[in-house]
Amino acid sequence: MARADGRDVDVVIPAFNESTRLPETLRETVRFLSGMPWRSRVLVVDNGSVDGTAGAAAEIAAEVSGAVGGAERVAVDVIGCSRPGKGAAVRRGILAGRAPLVGFFDADLATPLDTLPVAIAALRGGAAAAIASRHVPGASFVETQPLTRRLGGHVFRTLSGALVSGVADTQCGFKFFQRPAVTAALVRTRTTGFAFDVELLHRIQRDGGEVVELPVAWTDRAGSTFHPVRDGIASYRAVLALHGGVR
């Protein structure tokens, strides 16, 4: 997928069984990106969907490249990743790109797209990573999360706090990076599950990179694949395993 076509920003969207909402997300993203003063590429990573996600994404990609001057500012490509896990899909997408700035966000657009120019500005200002955060001053939940979910999140943040310093929210699905910094971290990263973000940020910080948190107005979207008990326990275990030592 190496395409040295002079893009400034690669946007990775990992997608697992997202054929219903992905088309609208892609249209909205392309619309937004074409209004930005940089050239970007959207890279959809189909993480082994069974519902025609890749086909739906390819249709939008064809629409975009068919539009007059469409692919000039924004290109859309679709690749696959059969390894399960959002971390695996994000890694595949980031490593496949070539733009100097790269990042990912979730297909549900829970983080507003307006966050993107802020993140790009932070990266151009020298940050290695600019990540959306639901837990810094200025952030808000558009709808309040249930108590159990908040409690679980609190435990997770406490556990991961020792690994990633000064970052209140490691788990928000919106993160952008300087390519050299994220590549250096990714090639060493071994987790692909819920601790993926924690390990990634931990490695970037350990390498001397600055992680900047951007407050966002977060919307909880239906259709989350996060299962509070099963995945909650799995994510605690993954983070505890990281405490055992990141090599």
Binding site: S34, D46, N47, G48, S49, G66, G80, S82
Partner: protein, 508 residues
């Protein structure tokens, strides 16, 4: 081996044209690897059962081809009054015992005694599978065939308790019994249901239905705008939804005629509904019609419709397409696999928009040139589905189901597939490439197309590099790739993208 007998009278189906074996296949086909193998097919009915339907026809068409390729096929099924307990039908040995429910227990008993007496087993699921893995040796390849998901249908046929039992058997029990064994789904929609509703964990392969024969030329269509619907009149076909949408269509389209061919328990209610809606002059209920009369009505039509709530595969849509008739359909599982939107018909997301879509479709079809274009696309689409290919594909799944046949380093989520297009190497022959039996290869001129299943684009490049290919163009497969394979959608059907660019322009 007993010589194949001709197929006796089977209601509602055409006789199968003999598979053409005139041209010897180049190199060993997947099918030929079944020669001399013993294959057991489990199906609650056989093709001579009075209630045999599309599922039985599917397996029969395929089994006949396996038998012709030299496999010894034994089909275990329920007893049929007036037919012997054992007979050879088109080269397939049919063994009958038990009734609609006891056939399951009897088959289990037979399988127990058959230890080692077969090489491959096909377990045809009709809501409830035979749970063959419980009764055969662990190492025996067992492939489950699923036409559609019955989870909701149980409730329409049984009381709440039996329906719950049915859902439990089709879902959690099957999942535990079949574990990682391969499943064959007849369409991408069914595959999605098997993965997401039944939550089966093994690889799921798409082996589509064939179509018996494409009639060569259409009779001239009716000068008046005509819709023909061939359907059993049962609740889940939802012909009532069509009637409800017809009132504004009849107002907007003068001289509209709607022919409904088929019978069933809903007929009286539907006729009453048509009268209440004031559509008695527009809609004609023809009842059950013999094949030639049904085809004659279909051939005169401009359009057919589907308002079904879900299908495993849109058989009647494909039969209409074979006659050159496009379809306007509600966008539901199974149906969306059978219609190529904008090329062989229209897919409508919402019921409330269906009438308007019909008006639009009939208007588009009033242009003779456009109508001819759609007719050609429909027939080309129908010709993409042949039983020979289905027999090949299912044979590939059997061969690939052998326990030693896995492990070549491909990734974990098996639903991802890629289409690769590569230059044909000099002196290439199919045997020189080691691929999985489920991989599909097609040569055309100096190019080779491949459909590699259970494989993402990165893995595919690794696989191809190992075969000495470095110039591969690789992309992820979509639902139509899974259906028609590496041959691709025929040119006459290929979607014209020029019309869709507007969405982005307007957005930008």
């Amino acid at each position: 081996m007993t010589p194949p007998r001709s197929l006796a009278v089977v209601p509602t189906t055409d006789p199968d044209p003999r598979p053409q074996l005139a041209a010897a296949p180049q190199g060993p086909t997947t099918l030929s690897r079944l020669a001399g193998k013993r294959v057991v097919v489990l199906n609650w009915r056989d093709v001579h059962h009075p209630q045999a339907g599309g599922a039985e026809m599917y397996m029969h068409r395929i089994a006949v081809r396996w038998a012709q390729a030299g496999a010894k096929v034994v089909w275990l099924t329920a007893a049929v009054p007036g037919r012997p307990a054992r007979e050879v039908v088109d080269g397939v040995t049919v063994v009958r015992a038990g009734g609609a429910l006891s056939v399951y227990a009897r088959t289990a008993f037979v399988l127990r005694r058959m230890v080692g007496a077969f090489d491959y087993l096909v377990d045809c699921q009709n809501g409830i599978p035979f749970f063959a893995p419980l009764f055969v040796d662990r190492a025996k390849p067992v492939v489950q065939v699923v036409h559609h998901i019955h989870q909701e249908q149980f409730a329409t046929r049984f009381g709440p308790v039996m329906a719950a039992v049915g859902r439990f058997l089709e879902g959690p029990v099957s999942r535990a019994v079949y574990r990682g064994r391969p499943v064959v789904a007849v369409s991408p929609s069914t595959r999605e249901g098997v993965r997401r509703r039944l939550r089966m964990r093994g690889p799921i392969h798409v082996v589509p239905n064939g179509l018996d024969a494409t009639p060569p030329i259409r009779a001239p269509r009716d000068p008046d705008p005509t819709i023909a619907v061939v359907s059993r009149l049962v609740p889940h076909k939802r012909v009532d939804l069509l009637l409800g949408q017809l009132v504004p269509v009849a107002q907007a389209v003068p001289r509209l005629r709607v022919d409904i061919v088929g019978s069933g328990p809903e007929r009286a209610r539907l006729e009453g509904l048509a009268a209440e809606l004031g559509l008695a002059d527009v809609v004609t209920f023809h009842g059950f019609q013999p094949d030639h009369a049904r085809d004659a009505l279909l051939e005169r039509a401009w359009l057919t419709t589907s308002t079904s709530d879900a299908e495993g595969w849109g058989l009647s849509i494909m039969e209409a397409a074979a006659h050159g008739v496009p379809t306007a359909a509600l966008d539901v599982p199974g149906v969306r696999d059978s219609v190529v939107p904008g090329r062989t018909g229209w897919l409508v997301p919402r019921v409330a928009d269906f009438g308007q879509a019909l008006v639009g479709a009939l208007h588009e079809l009033s242009d003779d040139v456009r109508a001819r274009e759609l007719t050609e696309a429909c027939q080309a689409w129908a010709r993409s589905f042949g039983w020979d290919r289905s027999a090949e594909l299912l044979a590939g799944v059997l061969l690939g189901a052998a326990p030693q046949a896995e492990q070549d380093g491909r990734g974990a989520r098996s639903d991802i597939s890629v289409v690769a297009d590569v230059a044909r190497p000099r002196n290439w022959n199919p045997a020189s490439w080691t691929l999985r039996p489920t991989d599909q290869v097609r040569t055309h001129g100096d190019r080779i197309s491949l459909l590699l299943t259970g494989c993402d684009d990165t893995d595919a490049k690794v696989v191809l590099r190992r075969l000495g290919v470095t110039d591969a163009r690789v992309r992820l497969a979509d639902r139509f790739d899974l259906l028609v394979g590496p041959a691709g959608i025929p040119d006459a059907v290929r979607a014209d993208r020029s019309g869709s660019a507007a969405i982005v322009e307007e957005a930008g």
